[in-house]
Each structure stands twice: as C-alpha cells, then as structure tokens.
Amino acid sequence: MKLIVAIIRPFKLDDVREALSEAGVSGITVTEVKGYGRQKGHTELYRGAEYVVDFVPKIRIEAAVPDNLEDIAIEAITAAARTDKIGDGKIFVLELQHAVRIRTGETDDDAL
C-alpha cells in the first residue's frame, strides 16, 4: 500500500476529492496547511508595521491506497489540481506498511 500525500490549492479540494472518488480511492484525510515554495507570498501592512508573508494557504491531502491505485490516484490528483501556475503543489508517495480500520480491526487493503 501507499500513502499518498498531496499539497494542493485550497479551492481545488472539491475537484480533487471527486477525482479520487472516481478513481476508486475510498477515503481521504485533509489538513489546512501553509506552504512555502516558489509561489510568491504577499505583503501586509498594519499601520507602521510591514510584514512579508511568505506562506500561502494550501490543503494537504492524505490518501492510503492499495498499490495498484498509486498511479491512477496520482494522475487523478494531477489532472484535477493543475492550473499551470506556480504553486499548484506536489504529490509525495510513501510506502505504507500496515493499515487498520479501527471500527472492525480489518487490516491492510481491507482497511482502506
């Protein structure tokens, strides 16, 4: 199994979720994060104090998938999240050793 971690633009969340569903991914876990990378941040000014905000809001998606879904899921995410502008984000793939469904105790592929 793989744990796919994707960093995407917040407004793309719904599209990506749907794409993953269609691709057969049974569930995802989503976190609001801030990203730092090539995409420029912005400047904020509060009276005399100017702050450069380097971080941009991003959404982090975590999806555990059986090995056979890895490529399909990556493609689905890429297709749905792409805007072709700097800051579209990344996909990271980690090896997932075990998975457990808490409710039933099922493990590994059955747990997803």
Binding site: F11, H42, L45
Partner: protein, 471 residues
C-alpha cells in the same frame, strides 16, 4: 401610468421628515420663535447616535459575517468608507439638496457648504410650533443617507473593485438618494398649514411623492427599496462570483452576523421611533411597532423554514428580524400594534421567499440578499402601510394639518395606489441611476471587478493588504 390628482389630500400628511424652518418661512421666525424642547433634543440626538451605530459596526458585522473570511475586511472597509464619504458629501451639498426648498425633485442651495448650520438654527417637526435643533435633524438625516448607501455593498460583495464602490457611491448618492429623499420627505413643515390656501401652497412646494400623499414613515422607499434596486442592478452588472453555484460559500462567522442584526435592531428604534422627531406618544408607537413586527417576522421565517426545510436556522431568525424591521419601517408611526404584527409576519414570509424562490428567478448573484430582504420587505411594507394605516384597522389615519385633526375618510384602495406609485417611482429612478452610475464607475476605475486571481486570493489581502484574522 395615470397618476391621480392627489394634491388636495397631500395637505393631510404626516411623514418622516421636517423642513428647514429658517429661510423657508421667515415671517414665521419673525414672530415668537419656538425653542426646542430639551426632551426632544435629547431624543433626536440619541436616536441619531444609534442610527449611526447601525452602519458601524451593525451593518458591517451583519454583512461581514456572511462572507468568506478572506473578504471580511473588504466588506468592513466598504461600509466604513461609504459612511465617511457620504457623511462628508451630506455636509457639502447633500443635506441642502435634499431638505431645503427647491423643486419637486431636488432641493435648493440654502444649506450648501453647511451655510447657516449653527447651534441656533431650528428645524420643524410634525407638530405645529414644535422645533428641534437643525443640527440634530441634519445629523439624523445624515445617518440615513449613510446607511442607505452602505446597504448596497452587500449585493456585489466579494468581487468588486474598491475604487468602483467609491465612484458609484458618489454618483448614486447624488442622483438617487438625494432626490428620492427630497421627493418623499420634503415638505414646508406643519406651521405652513395655517389655512386651506396656505396649505395648498405648502403642499405644492413639497416633494414629488410627498405631495401625492405617499406614506413612508422612516424610509421604506427612500432607504430600502432605493438601496435594494441599486444593489440588484449592481449584482447583475458586476456578475457572479467565481464558483458561484458549485463551490460552497458559507458564512464565515454567523455569531458576528447575529450581533450585527441585533445592533441593527437596536439602532432601528432610533431609525423608526426617532423619525417621529419628538419624544411623544407617536414615537412610543413607532417604538413598539419596531419591537413587535420583527418578532412576528422571526416567528414567521422560523416557522417557514421549519415546515419547509425541516430545520429552523439562526441565520433564518436573524434574517427574519431584519425582514420585519424593513417591513415595518414605512409603517412604524402609522399603524397600530395589530397591524405591526401582521406586517411583520407577512414580511417575514415574503422575504423568505425573496431569498429562495425569487432569488432563483432573478438569476443574479446578489451575494448578501440585499434585494431579497430590503427590496421585497420594503415593497411589502410600503404597500401594507397603505392598508394598516387605515383607522378602521387600528392605524392612525392621515392627519389634516389645516383642520388640525385626523382626516375623516381613509380609503385603503386609493392609498394603496399612492403607495404603489411611490414604489414604482423609486424602483425605476434608482434602477436607472444605478445602471448609469455602475457603468461610469466601471469606466473610471478600470472595470468594476477585480482580476480573477485576486478574487480567489480574497480582497482583504489583494485590495487592502491585510488579513482579518491571525491565530
């Protein structure tokens, strides 16, 4: 549209405005000039303060809570700047053009550049021989002008260019708010109605709708319909928000929205009961109506949602309160308590339809339902005022300032016609002015809308360089 000859009945009116005494009827001043009653003065100033409170922070919070957090400050900023701008314009020329003697559509220049606005100047009320400090009246009416213009911004929130809001406001304030206020509320004051001939002359010198006998106690047409139509035109011209209809655009903070609604309500006591201009039984009547009509509207909206959708919502209750307040505004001093309950209940249901069924029909992204609440509620209220003002239905009827008593024959039918005329004139006038004003604003400010990526990122950061929240 045939406009019946209302002239003879206009002399009987009691409405929510006062003429400037000085300059209008100098001979009146020559004789023993009345001095303001301190209770009236205290009342008028307090009412003014709480009407100001309605816009800042009331309307700001009510609207701000409904947008996404990335646009919170843009809404507040628009409310603040529209307020400041209009108050200054009001000082420079607005008050003069709205509330001094001129023609049927615009006032004159007697108060241009604040000329003559001294602590000694007094303004008429609705009672003969009773005056209030004109500066108090000036401020009270300033607060009305400010909130009316600020109401509009809810319709095109979350995507309009900030500079466009300012340009639009200057134009629309000047060419719609000021003349409609003059048309509906300007009259020479009660002391001019010494006998039939003088009354006829005074009536002839009144505003276009006032002289036709339109009843608008505190601004159903001038404030609510006027602003709502402008907002709707704006929503059409500015276009829908990116993602409207398929992305969730949930209110970011309904606690603020409820706080704003409650502040609006409290301020509305000043708005409606203050429009009596005196601290008397009429003010108390308007006050009570402003209390119970929204209560009935809350119950109506809640019931409607509960039966229709399965769950009654807090946003629904808050919206119902505002709907009831809008509905009772033109009627507050003219109807009895039973009438107020009825108007509130009907306005609650009508506005619930306004933000659901009607909204789907209109196909505009009126983001914060300015038309659905203020337009629908304003029209319903304006018409029902004509019904429930009838003495037979517990209303006050129409006062005959020549005979110094309530006029005897009140016809609901013909009053409804007058009220409808008032609504129609306001809708058309405001619509046309708003259309032109938005077009001009778009030309002058490089387009009404911000670029798409700025809209995505949010106006707070892109238009104002700041964020509302940091944790």
């Amino acid at each position: 549209m045939m406009i019946p000859n209302f002239a003879p009945r206009a002399a009987l009116l009691r409405a929510a405005a006062a003429a400037v005494l000085i300059g209008f009827a100098p001979e009146l001043l020559a004789q023993a000039a009345p001095a303001p009653n301190k209770g009236d003065t205290a009342w008028l100033l307090v009412c003014t303060a709480i009407v100001i409170f309605m816009t800042l922070p009331g309307l700001g919070l009510f609207y701000g809570g409904l947008v996404r957090s990335k646009n919170m400050l843009s809404v507040l900023m628009q409310c603040v700047l529209v307020f400041a701008l209009v108050a200054v314009l009001w000082s420079l020329y607005g008050y003069s053009l709205a509330f001094t003697s001129g023609n049927a559509f615009f006032g004159g220049f007697d108060r241009l550049l604040m000329k003559g606005l001294t602590p000694e100047a007094n303004a008429a009320t609705f009672s003969k021989g009773v005056v209030v400090p004109e500066l108090g009246y000036f401020a009270f009416q300033a607060a009305f002008a400010c909130i009316t213009c600020a109401l509009i911004v809810g319709a095109f929130a979350e995507r309009i260019r900030f500079a466009a809001v300012l340009v639009f406001t200057v134009l629309w304030f000047t060419f719609s708010y000021v003349p409609i206020a003059h048309m509906v509320w300007f009259w020479p004051g009660p002391d001019a109605f010494t006998d039939q001939a003088a009354g006829d002359a005074a009536t002839a010198a009144s505003g276009f709708l006032f002289k036709r006998g339109a009843l608008d106690f505190a601004g159903g047409t001038v404030v609510h319909i006027n602003a709502a139509v402008a907002g709707l035109v704006g929503a059409w011209l500015v276009g829908k928000r990116i993602g409207y209809g398929h992305e969730a655009m949930r209110p970011h903070n309904l606690a603020l929205t409820m706080t704003g609604a409650a502040i609006l309500w409290v301020g509305w006591f000043g708005f409606n009961a203050g429009s009596a201009l005196e601290a008397n039984g009429a003010a108390a009547l308007a006050f009570v109506n402003t209390l119970i009509a929204p209560c009935a509207a809350i119950l109506a909206w809640t019931l409607g949602e509960w039966l229709g959708k399965g769950k009654p919502s807090m946003l629904g209750a808050a919206s119902g309160a505002v709907a009831g307040l809008v509905g009772i505004t033109p009627a507050a001093g003219f109807v009895g308590l039973g009438g107020a309950l009825a108007i509130g209940f009907i306005a609650g249901l009508a506005c619930l339809w306004g933000v659901t069924g009607l909204k789907r029909l209109l196909r505009a992204d009126d983001a914060l339902d300015v038309f659905g609440v203020h337009g629908v509620g304003g029209i319903v209220g304006a018409l029902l005022t004509g019904v429930f003002a009838a003495p037979s239905l517990g209303g006050t009827g129409i006062y005959d300032y020549v005979g110094n008593k309530v006029a005897e024959n009140y016809s609901i039918g013909s009053q409804l016609l007058v009220q409808g005329t008032g609504v129609a004139v306001t809708v058309i006038w405001s619509g046309v002015v708003a259309f032109i004003a938005f077009k001009l604003a778009g030309l002058l400010t490089d387009g009404l809308r911000v670029p798409a990526d700025e809209e995505r990122e949010g106006l707070d950061i892109t238009s104002h360089g700041e964020s509302a929240y940091d944790r």
